[in-house]
């Protein structure tokens, strides 16, 4: 069976969906990702869907599920690169993808993840010094 590769990049996991998704493939991505977050203690997941030409209610739900599951495992999820036509279709379909962070491209998505993880780190660690890493 086909599999969508998951790459580890520092504290983050990177997924680029380059193939046409069908339901079982999307489900196995969900399972693999959640397992990888656990195994690598990743702090963030970035999913690039710039090559995905359609997102229907099932795939939309999978993205929502991934974000919710990762959140429980203390990782943030950002979906990046959605095509404008896909965004229009999703809203008309009635799926506003609430709970999923989005960014325009991989670069902005990475920035957003860094920011989120950094904010969390600041919340946990005592504010000892002002050596914040400016992004």
């Amino acid at each position: 069976m086909e599999k969508i590769p998951i790459l580890k990049m520092g504290p983050f996991l990177l997924v680029t969906i380059q193939v046409d998704l069908y339901d079982r493939l999307a489900l196995s991505l969900e399972a693999d990702l959640v397992q990888m977050v656990n195994k690598t203690s990743a702090k963030g997941v970035l999913i690039d869907i710039s090559a995905v030409s359609i997102v229907d209610s099932f795939m939309g739900r999978i993205f929502g599920n991934i974000a919710a599951m990762c959140k429980i495992l203390d990782a943030e999820t950002v979906v990046v690169g959605m095509q404008p036509a896909v965004a229009i279709t999703l809203i008309e379909l009635g799926l506003p993808l609430t709970g999923v962070h989005t960014a325009l491209d991989v670069e902005k998505g990475m920035k957003l993840l860094n920011l989120k993880v950094e904010v969390e780190a600041d919340d946990n660690d005592e504010p000892d010094d002002d050596d914040h890493h400016a992004v």
Partner: protein, 143 residues
Amino acid sequence: MMNRTTMIITLSKDIMHIIKDQDVVPFRNRVKECAVRIKMGLVNQTKLITAASELGRNMLKYANGGETLIEIVTKGRDNGVRLTFKDKGPGISDISLAMKDGYSTGKSLGLGLPGAKRLVNEFEIKSEAGKGTTVVVIKWANG
């Protein structure tokens, strides 16, 4: 509605079966080919293919698959893609309920039928309990 449907002429016809998960991918591709052939804009293409995906999934999920008809149709100056989904599943006992947002007998979001209807220009559903369900949708190139 009746005289509008009689004016529609079919230009090309294609039959595809959806019996397993993966069949949805070539089916979506075939729908896209037809949409491109009649120069449908990208947004309308995306809406049509998304609706096709929803309805194809419904057929798989509730009726273990079925037959689809992909047609390029024309009415005067307007060209469009007409999709027919025919299954021999259990049928839908209450169509108006099934067309409601958020209603699902499965564990999905219940957006499939009402969502697909919003994405196309014409939507017709016929169902008989125990016999099966037929859904016909049309998306006009400029619709």
